[in-house]
Assembly symmetry: C2
Homo-oligomer: 408 residues x 2
Amino acid sequence: MSARDTIAAFEIIDGKLAVGGLPLDRLAARIGSTPFFAYDRRLLTQRVALLREKLPSKINLSYAIKANPMPAVVQHLSSLVDSFDVASTGELRIALDTPMRSDQISFAGPAKTIAELTQAVAAGVTIELESITEARRVLAIGEKLGVRPRVAIRVNPDFAIKGSGMRMGGGPQQFGVDSEVVPQFLHELSKVDLNVLGFHVFGGSQNLRADIICEAQRKTVELATKLAAAMPSPVRYLNLGGGFGIPYFDKDESLNLAMVGTNLQELFDGPIRNHFPEARLVIELGRYIVGECGIYVTRVVDCKQSRGKQFVMVDGGLHHQLAASGNFGQVIRRNYPLAIGNRMTEAVTETANVVGCLCTPLDLLGEGVGVPKVEIDDLVVLFQAGAYGMSASPSAFLSHPPAIEVLV
Amino acid sequence: MSARDTIAAFEIIDGKLAVGGLPLDRLAARIGSTPFFAYDRRLLTQRVALLREKLPSKINLSYAIKANPMPAVVQHLSSLVDSFDVASTGELRIALDTPMRSDQISFAGPAKTIAELTQAVAAGVTIELESITEARRVLAIGEKLGVRPRVAIRVNPDFAIKGSGMRMGGGPQQFGVDSEVVPQFLHELSKVDLNVLGFHVFGGSQNLRADIICEAQRKTVELATKLAAAMPSPVRYLNLGGGFGIPYFDKDESLNLAMVGTNLQELFDGPIRNHFPEARLVIELGRYIVGECGIYVTRVVDCKQSRGKQFVMVDGGLHHQLAASGNFGQVIRRNYPLAIGNRMTEAVTETANVVGCLCTPLDLLGEGVGVPKVEIDDLVVLFQAGAYGMSASPSAFLSHPPAIEVLV
């Protein structure tokens, strides 16, 4: 399993890539314009089913809305997952518009303002406290609103997770409360009227190594066991984070989900049953659920030869899908999987640079890509566009129109 | 002159940074919320005056709207510069809403669609042709609308410009027509009903080396002189590009504008007078005009110690000002100039990481920055935010509210 398999997950009808049973040219006609992001409802459902199959049945599966906040996607997932995590009040609104119960929604993120915390307390969601300042604010807000706030402590662990695309735990961090400070923090919280549910430990994201994720989960349960001794009541919430990566590049190997599931089952059968009998055990995933279920589709506007190189020029670009251009946090630019969506069964005969419509050399969507003979009006598809695509791109850059998003 | 001098250009009133005569706390109160971008009208006017002083009086000064498309900024500049360049029909609308004459507006950019070219031909602006496909489209549109299109050829030169932040000319490029193909291209254009005005040669942006810019301008005039021989009529438009850089980092030295001006005067007195007596000579600048005239202002939400490091946590972040986080095209992250706007005259006593409110380690606005004692509700200012700030940032990332923009 690698990035190439993502392409294989999509149907091909009459040589054309299809989303939700619609060949791409017909879907483009239905939408009326390019570029667009299309998310496949069937693939989303299958993805959650895969997680249910491989992970222990007692796991509470949470969707981190930050990965893809499109309301239709979040609505669809609301009946498939057990809970949501939000990172802003914008995401909170989207979550509350679904049938998801508010006590199944968590709100994490550094630097939450008083206004944001007020909305969260009023909504009755679980606030993951990142500092003593936040605890004080939440308490004051709860008193003012006459609501007993539901809180958990986001813990900055005393270990780091290797191999993550982004490290968010271990060492000094803006995220969470340092683990060694948590007992004193809990002691302070025990004196006030807050409903302290438990802990959230999250060390990093986009990890493809199952062995490292398993080790992190074991260490997280160990750390939580130690910290639980200082809890004023039994732990009712333990969020082990997620960090499951997806393959973006040819050499990436998909995560061994079965290994992660087996490890979690062992933790359930041992320390979790012993130490956290009353806890809701949460695995929180964003990218892993939606990332491979979406594509970004652009139309070829021009094909050009320049000094021996072929350029395929499309009507989209990094303003819609920044990560694919290699300019968002990546050190080395590599190609995301790419195909000519209306020529899926034609042989590769040429090599081209696929570039966007922006007046900057950064707007490179595919470098030296093997393609069939490309013509103007062809549809260029970028895969792995379901997570951190449109919402993580500078859509106003050069004042082109935004992309359209559809769930099919 | 370096990045530090940008800070010095802003007024300080009662120890507070001021924009347009308003101390920052009062400006924040006037706006009603943070974060915001504030652009200084006086500094914009001064900047254009500086260019007028240092560059030959015959230069036609064009503002590249892509650098900052805020309508109020573009309106203000419409009375100060001679022309506008737009990179999309979104920018075209903003330009046409000003008193600027449409024949003083140019439209450049790869992969222009038929719909976009139709708008541009109808508007009567100068279309900078990037390929033979575009020429054919513009011709057909002109015939359909009964308008004789105004065009220039964007030339991909046969030389590269060293030291540019981004290289956009020389070698194979998606931009422009390869210089060696231009004579044949002009020959084709001479047979059809297009108003061919001249050339645009643009080799790269964000260059701080005056000697390299001077050399590029000399080479550009030489190249244009050669190409002019194939023109069906005298050259009436010669856009030498811009590429003037601004200092972002401590070690950056400001561009020696006087040297550029002297070189341009020599070109005017020599080859330009001889070969382009009827041409409007354009220098096109975006970042250089607006970049140092704007600041991004955020408010401190929390201050936190974590394992020996101090974190100043603000209500903004990379979703508003991506470049300052080092994640947009930069290989090495370096700090943009930063200050505590309400403590401008207090001594630096501490070192802090200034981080935004996003749940990602990428959201780092200042690393190991020297600051006075910072408190919650202080205003953190990032300088060099006038160009490629809000419009070049992923404003929907994590669904936080957008920043407000004001021209003061």
